[in-house]
Symmetry: C2
Subunit: 470 residues, 2 copies
């Protein structure tokens, strides 16, 4: 296969590589309004697969989908003081509609805590209504000064979950349930991304939350990407919007709340977490197309053998596509399949086939193996399982090799040049976090020495993961 240098190598210029792969794999374009994006079919198929996998997990966790309005009265945002302060600089505001100036401007939702709590205040009456577990798939708008496709866009797609509970313990437990059972399970087992799961430092918390839990992925340039968050909101929004319930004992009580979200930013994480100089590498469990059966060129029996193999793979539950576009040069088709990260290709040419052979090409581990036609389907299904694991293990090994245990801020900054540092949180509390910020290094999350999530910031022995981030 001829390989044209279609992408800037990662080692040469990682941000440029990222732009190149998004363009050449036809994942997305910039939209005409600054910071917006057009998600092309190839890119959207990744998001659709993420949605389906996440939605299943969210439903297993008991939440039901609903939809809340795009437009929020400006006054709602002001009801929770920290929240409005956090989001004001990013708001898009509709001032005219229906040919007239509006009496009260409306904000395009940057997140929906305020408008959802206005509904919750009507829906929640009694302890029997709790827990109330709601999720919404929606677009949100945050005006971005330094936009970057998928990672930081003026408009993005996400899910936002919002829940009400009778007690703080219930809310805390649910925020963790979503964190681990929906998000971590999906990211580790479907995206093959060995995220570090921890707690945000107070400085990095969501505006209006009393605790933010996070999942941080390491990209192939050593930077961190926040892949998702799950917040305990305490009673902040409940008090601002008067969400109260009558307890079994007949007392009026404010509910305890959580909110949690993942967005199209995960597509950026998938690209930068696994992609190489030839393009994307998609984990098989996520890949919209898991296997591509390619007719190299036409010849006796080739089309029939390809069709039979496609049917066999489909019967085995593989998401398979036939590429028999022999009027397009094979090399160009193969490069395109590499760019788009299709996990396994089976190449059928007349010459090999005459000897009963096909070639199985594994994108993730990079092997090309001549295989008897009759054994091809089994080779594909085996490769899909093995390479899911291989991709995860490779990412985990990279993360571990690029994470350094340090005790001083100087060493943390040095480690952050190429990866992450693990440093005692106690050594950062007195101005250390601010010192790191001067060099654009942040505390990504706090974890316990055993890797689990601390119950509070001031647990003894808590470790901070620090690094540069997207």
């Amino acid at each position: 296969m001829a390989k044209a240098p279609v992408l800037t190598p990662q080692a040469e210029d990682f941000p440029r590589w990222y732009q190149d792969v998004i363009a050449k794999a036809e994942l997305a374009d910039n939209g005409p309004v600054r910071g917006t994006m057009v998600i092309r079919p190839t890119g959207y198929a990744l998001w659709e697969r993420m949605q389906r996998e996440m939605d299943d997990r969210i439903k297993v966790a008991g939440a039901q989908n609903a939809y809340f309005p795009l437009f929020i009265p400006e006054s709602y945002l002001r009801k929770e003081a920290e929240h409005v302060e956090g989001f004001s600089p990013e708001l898009a505001v509709v001032t005219h509609a229906g040919g007239k100036q509006l009496e009260e401007p409306v904000v395009v939702r940057p997140t929906s805590e305020t408008i959802i709590n206005a509904s919750f205040s009507k829906w929640v009456q009694s302890y029997r209504d709790l827990p109330l577990l709601v999720n919404a798939w929606a677009n949100v708008v945050r005006w971005e000064m330094r936009p970057r496709v998928f990672l930081r866009t003026t408009e993005f797609l996400w899910q936002e979950g919002h829940t009400c509970h009778a007690t703080q313990a219930d809310a805390r437990s649910y925020a963790r349930q979503i964190l681990h059972e929906a998000y971590e399970d999906f990211m580790v087992n479907v995206l093959a991304m060995p995220v570090v799961v921890g707690r945000k430092s107070p400085k990095e918390r969501f505006a209006g939350a009393i605790n933010t839990l996070t999942l941080e992925g390491m990209m192939r340039d050593g930077k961190a990407l926040q892949m998702g968050t799950s917040h305990e909101l305490g009673q902040n929004f409940a008090k601002a919007f008067d969400v109260q319930y009558l307890s079994a004992e007949g007392q009026r009580e404010y509910v305890w709340q959580t909110s949690w979200g993942v967005s199209t930013r995960m597509v950026g994480g998938l690209i930068m977490g696994h992609g190489d100089d030839n393009g994307l590498r998609l984990p098989p469990r996520l890949a919209p197309t898991q296997a591509l059966v390619m007719v190299v060129k036409d010849g006796e029996g080739v089309g029939e053998a390809a069709a039979k193999l496609v049917a066999e793979l489909r019967g085995a539950g593989v998401r398979v596509v036939l590429d028999d576009r022999t009027d397009t040069p094979f090399g160009r088709r193969a490069i395109d399949a590499e760019l788009k990260g299709i996990p396994v290709r089976v190449e059928l040419g007349p010459r090999d086939l005459a000897e009963g052979n096909v070639t199985v090409v594994r994108r993730i581990v990079g092997t090309k193996t001549p295989t008897a036609l009759g054994a091809a389907a089994a080779a594909v299904t085996t490769a899909l399982v093995e390479d899911q694991q291989a991709l995860h293990d490779e990412a985990l090994a990279r993360r571990e090799s690029r994470t350094t245990d340090v005790t001083t801020i100087e060493d943390a900054l040095a480690a952050a040049a190429t990866g992450w540092a693990r440093i005692p949180w106690a050594s950062l509390v007195d101005g250390g976090e601010a010192r790191l910020a001067q060099d654009a290094v942040t505390v990504r999350c706090l974890i316990r020495p055993d890797g689990s999530v601390p119950e509070s910031d001031d647990e003894p022995g808590v470790i901070a993961i620090v690094g540069r981030s997207y």
Copy 2:
């Protein structure tokens, strides 16, 4: 079962009944910004089922999902003259964002022809790129003067398909393929709504289209609801946005286009097309919950029998839910199940069960049948199939009995008081359509005498379906 008069009867006040059922079945609330809606979990589950069924059909028709920005530069709308004229009065405009006034105001999409064609002009180069078949699931905004939940809301959810073809014949054929294979098939066979499929009169066409095809459902008050449309756009947008391709012969040609959409308005159609004085009646193929196994009250073996029946039904592929909330009065639970239109209930009480019996309640046909426990699962699956058909047939019979063949405008107006009229289109072309409009009666669509869709307005023998509409 005690029946409280929870809903205003349809015969007394149909619009009031509609509001009542939406509130009592917990389908939706009004949002705080005028004309917006909150779609509650029970209502959203209906939309999710519609999405899944439609999305499958759209993919079978070869279209791929993508996403285009919410925000459109104001100047884009002006590029197609009829389009901007049609939509200007309904636009919501963002003038401020990121703390500043924008240099060019941006419009919140009312539909995406303009911004999608800006992408198409980049994506389409050669005849090899055609047909280009794209669909998007999105929210759109049209500022409504007389909003009504689900039917006419300032913000609604929909899918919008947009396609490019090499020839007018290809575009025409695809607009019809979507009309029949995606929309009509879904509405008739899943929604159980016997829609009339036809062509819009020139006056009723989409702003910018050369032909609009439509599916019209009759509501239980005799009014029409436009359930979906499929447009031929000709080359109007292709010329406005310079979407050209190089033909096999080496000529630069403008593409021919279609667009097509269905929205959350279908939820309103489902409510008004099938609902009765006790609430919704959901067609089994659509219903998120097809069967409810209800423990009437606790007693020896009741819980076990219920659990076993649930497992049996689930094994048979039925979407089944167990209701064992015996701390809530049974009558209230039964009323709620009626309100929400769950097709089949199986009621298990200790007394009947002691004799080996349960009661199968069919919401659509209104029967309550004592049934041996061992035969209950089969009775449910049979009922689901039969009642899907029964609901369709009932709606078809209603439509036929309320549709009158007439030859004069006076008779058409009389017929439109309670239903639809069929009138020769030729008798309306000279001012007749305007005369009808004075009485708020419109041409819903044009059909051939055999019910098929005319190729043009001036085919001899074309019949106009006229009526009042939502």
